[in-house]
Each structure stands twice: as C-alpha cells, then as structure tokens.
Amino acid sequence: MAQLVLNDVRKRFGKTEVIHGVDLEVKDGEFVVFVGPSGCGKSTLLRMIAGLEEVSGGDVIIGDERMNEIAPSDRGIAMVFQSYALYPHKDVYGNMAFALRHAGEDKKVIDERVRKAADILGLEPLLKRRPKELSGGQRQRVAIGRAIVRDPAIFLFDEPLSNLDAALRVQMRVEILRLHQQLKTTMVYVTHDQVEAMTLADRIVVLRDGRIEQVGTPLELYHHPQNQFVAGFIGSPKMNFLPARSEGGSGRVTVPGSDPIDVPVKGSPDVSDLTLGIRPEHVGIVPPDQGTITGEVMVAERLGGETYLHVDLGADDPFVVKADGSAAQKSGERIGLRFPPEALHLFAKDGAAFEHRERHSLIA
C-alpha cells in the first residue's frame, strides 16, 4: 500500500519554478531518503509534504487523502528539523508534551507517551533540563522524541544530523536506523550526504535542480546509475570519468592512450563523444606492460587501511584508484590499470547511461 504519493508536484516561488513536477510513491513502513546537492529542492519538497509550503501544482496524497489544503497538524506527520527547533523556555518534558497538551490530550496519556519515547531514546535522566543545558546530540534526540510522542503516520527529517560533529553523526545514524526498525513507521529523510543516504535508506531519491534523477535501492544506484550525475554523486571517492570513442559499436570503446575496452552494455552505441566511468575501488593495479592503460602516480594518500592513488592519465581531472593500505606504489611511479568489464559504465553525451546486459547479482 502506498502511504505517500506525490503526483506531478510543482513549486513556484514567485515566477521561478524550483520543483518541476515530481512523481513518487512511498510504501507503508518504507525509509526513503531524498539526496542531492545543496539547493536542489529537497527541503522544499519535504516542506510541501509537511504542509509548511504551499503546493503550486500537482497533488500530495497521504494515506488515501489529498492533503494539499490540509493544515500540517492534521496530516498525521511529525517533522524533525536541522536546527532542532526546541522551545528554549520549556524543559525536555515540556517540549515533548507540548503538541499533545495543545491537542487537549489527557494528562495520563501524555505522561505515558512522553515516558515511553524518553525510554526509547534514553532521555529519562534529562526530562527536567532546559535545551540550553543539553549537548547537540541530546538536543537532536529530544527533537526526535518530540516527533515520536505524536505517534505520526510519517516521520519527516530535514538534515537532522548536519549540525552534529562527525563521530556523533555516525552514532545518531545508527540510532535512527534502530528507531525505524523498532517503530516500523514510514520515514522520509532529507540529506545532502550520500553516505547517510546509502546507510539509512530502503530507497533513495536522487534530486537535482528540482527534478528526480533516479529512484532506487542504494545498491541499484551504486551498480546501475541511470545517468552520469547519479553515478558521480553516489559513492566516495567519486566515480572516475574518461572521454571515450566508440569502436564500431557493441560497446567496444577506447579512451586516449588505451587498448580497446569492451563494456558489457545493451544496444550498440556508435558515436564518438561518450564517457567511460569506473569507480576507484574497482580499478585493478598491474605492472605497466600488462595494463589496459598506463599512467604516472602523482600523489599517494595513505589512510592506513587503504590508499588513494591519484594517477595522471593525461585527462584534466586526476584518475583516482583505491588500493590496499599496504600498496607499495609511490608518487612518480608508472603503473598499469585494469578495468574489470562488469564494473564499467558508459554514458552518452547527454549523460544518460547505457544499460548493462546483466544486473548485479545482489540486485533482484
């Protein structure tokens, strides 16, 4: 059953349209993440679902009801904001109880629900504190607790972890994941961080300039990006792109300075300006005389467990290869590179990806 449906949803601020017709179905209990670069309209889309932003065109449907003109508090949603947005003059308990008190809920029911939410998030010892007496992580937990108390049909999160430091972010990410497993409520989560998207989402929605670029599971997006933007956005370090020429179709291409490379794609692109893509972690390192292509190592970034080699292949951007932590290659050294065919991606001039002949084994 679809819990949330967006039907050709559009948003205009004055004369400028920032959301250009978004279609999406979110299933009951699903964890969907909107991801995209800053300014692509993620927050605007989420705020339209919440009812905080007027819908300029299309329908927002929650449950079976069209919600375009319904007030935020009547949509069965709860929202967690990036800046926490706690009421500074109320203590933690007061913050969590506020919406229910306002709705005229029974005192005992309120108390029960606040304590249950506090229990889930480990907030009991903090119930009497004011927001300013809490750390960033605790504040965000209170903000989430406030959402839980309302028992919504859909949770909306707008970059809830962006204000936290890196270590806390990882910890809260796990907590949110655990929360979803426990509550099994539909969640829509906005972030610009593709790692957060990959780790949290059942399905990811990649947005760019107010349009959906692709919707799919994290592994679908990783292994079968539908265009060059998604391919470059998902994965870290990002995918390498090389200018490629078709050699008589059937997916055979060359890049400057390389032997012919066979990309296992459907169809037979026979045009000159193509782009070949491969992720740093899929490139193999071989002696120079055995490589599909050779290049000089410019920089070796040693992270301990892994090493990023920046290789000069004559293109503008350096080509990044992820090697083992104990890889011996030094800067100035010439190395050969091998491209496993199944890890290659081929993009047309407009950025659209050519479909692979076979799906990745982990994807049904």
Partner: protein, 289 residues
C-alpha cells in the same frame, strides 16, 4: 630568540591592558558627566532654599538639610494625581507599542504578501519624520474626536510616535529567528496567534526590553503634547505639573527639585525590570548552540 619573543609578548599584553584602561577611563568620564546633573538635583532636593543657593555643590549638612520640598510636593497641589497620569500614559503607551509593534514586526518578517516591502518603507518614513511636525493636525483631530484633555489622546500620540522604530528594530531581529521553530509549532498545531504569543514572544524578550527602555524615556519626559493636548488639571502629567512650582516671580526650587527627584524613580524601577530581561542567553540552546 626567546627573550625577544617574551618581550614582544609582554609589550603586547601591556598594550592590551593600556587600551582597556583607556576605554574604561572614557566610559567612566562619560558616566560621571551623565550622572552629575541627576546627583545635583537629588542632593539639592534635600536642602533648604538658602542651602541651594549658597552652596549648590555641597552635600546637605545639618544646617542646610530640609525636606520641605518633599512636604510641599506631597501636600500641596495634585502632584500624586499628575504622577499617576504620567504612569498610566507611559505604561499603557509602552504596552501598546510593544504589543502592536511586535505583532506588526512578526507579520512583516514572517509572511510573504504584496504590500510587505511598501509597509516596511512606510515605517521607516515614520522614523525619519518627527511626529511634532503634525501637531496642528493632531490637535484638530483630537478636537474632532472629542479627546482633548483626556489621557487617551496622549496614549494615542505616544503609541504612534513609538511604533515606527519599534517595528523596524523588531522586524530586523525577527528576521534572524530560526524559521524551524515556528514551523515546528505549526506542525504541532498552533494557530498563528499562539505561535506569536507562545513561541515568538519568549524568544524576543530581550529585544522587547530594549525597545521598552528607549521608548519609555521620551514619553515620560515629554512636555509638548501634555501642554497642547491635555493641560487640564485632571490630566496633567508630572513634567507639566512641576510647572506649578515655577511661578512668574518666584520659583519654589525645593519643590521643583523634589518633584523631579520623585519623577526619576519610576523610570529607574521600569529600567530595572526591563534590564533583567536584557540579560540575554534566553535563546541560547534553542537552535544550534
């Protein structure tokens, strides 16, 4: 090498202390200059007439001490009535300025509507054009409305006088408030009025106090409008009432100084109340902190 470094560091530290001392000296000097007349007024209000004129700068001594000024003020004339009038006018005008100003600022900063920019400019014009320029028109209006010699006329004028700058300052401040917290209240189901009173007002308390302090002084001290709009005996304010001790031929200086001393009191009390609010940090922790 290291000696050079420490000398430089010491010189830097000395320099900083020197700058701080300079700043404090200037501030202290300014404070003295500002307090001096007040001190003279209060001091002399406790002296008899001879004491005031022979040694105006001396503290009241056993020979010169006298509370006759206070006695005159509290027994003769309607000083307490004037005092009450001043308080009513000031407090009610302040209340209206803060309430209407904050609500207008909320609307201007929070909602997108067609005349928004135009209204903001209109308010700024109100800051630049002194309200006294409109005295004749205001008097005519008050006559037509039958409000001459009522406190209401003063309250209306002072509210109009204080609103533009209050709206301007509050609007600028409210633009900096986190949008999230208001949106959160909307999701929680609060009406726009309750968002204003329960979420926005607590967040802007320090700024409201600031606006209150500097709106209050000109109202309390004003002589112009009470003289023109409400000079009847029942509606005189303190500043106007003091004039009864200034006769054409003799001036009862003890009484004048005593009434001025008493008149300072409410301003001090109101200031004390508001300045407690000025201690900010109230919003700390509301958003990222």
């Amino acid at each position: 090498m290291s000696t050079v470094d420490t000398t430089r560091a010491r010189r830097g530290r000395m320099g900083r202390i020197g700058t701080a001392a300079g700043v404090h000296a200037v501030l202290l000097g300014y404070t003295l200059i500002a307090i001096f007349p007040v001190l003279i007024v209060v001091m002399n209000s406790f002296k008899n007439r001879r004491g005031i004129f022979t040694e105006p700068l001396a503290l009241p001594g056993p020979e010169t001490f006298s509370a006759e000024g206070y006695a005159t003020v509290l027994t003769e004339g309607n000083f307490l009535l004037y005092y009450g009038n001043s308080l009513i006018v000031t407090v009610v005008s302040l209340f209206l300025i803060l309430l209407l100003g904050a609500m207008a600022a909320h609307a201007l900063s929070e909602y997108r509507f067609k005349l928004n920019a135009l209204l903001s400019i209109y308010m700024i014009l109100g800051i630049m054009v002194p309200i006294r320029l409109g005295t004749v028109a205001i008097l005519q209006l008050m006559v037509d409305l039958n409000l001459v010699n009522t406190l209401i006329s003063l309250i209306l004028v002072y509210t109009a006088q204080g609103l533009p700058i209050a709206v301007f300052i509050l609007t600028e401040f409210m633009r900096t408030l986190s949008r999230d917290i208001k949106d959160c209240a909307r999701v929680d189901g609060l009406s726009e009025y309750r968002i204003f009173f329960e979420v926005v007002v607590p967040l802007i308390r320090p700024v409201l106090a600031t606006v209150a302090v500097f709106s209050m002084i000109p109202i309390w001290n004003d002589l112009w409008f009470p003289l023109i709009l409400a000079s009847s005996d029942a509606t005189k304010t303190v500043t106007l009432g003091v004039q009864q001790f200034i006769g054409q031929y003799t001036v009862n200086w003890s009484a004048v100084l005593a009434s001025l001393s008493i008149a300072i009191l409410p301003v001090l009390v109101l200031y004390a109340i508001f300045s407690r609010q000025l201690i900010s940090g109230i919003t700390a922790g509301a958003v990222k902190g």
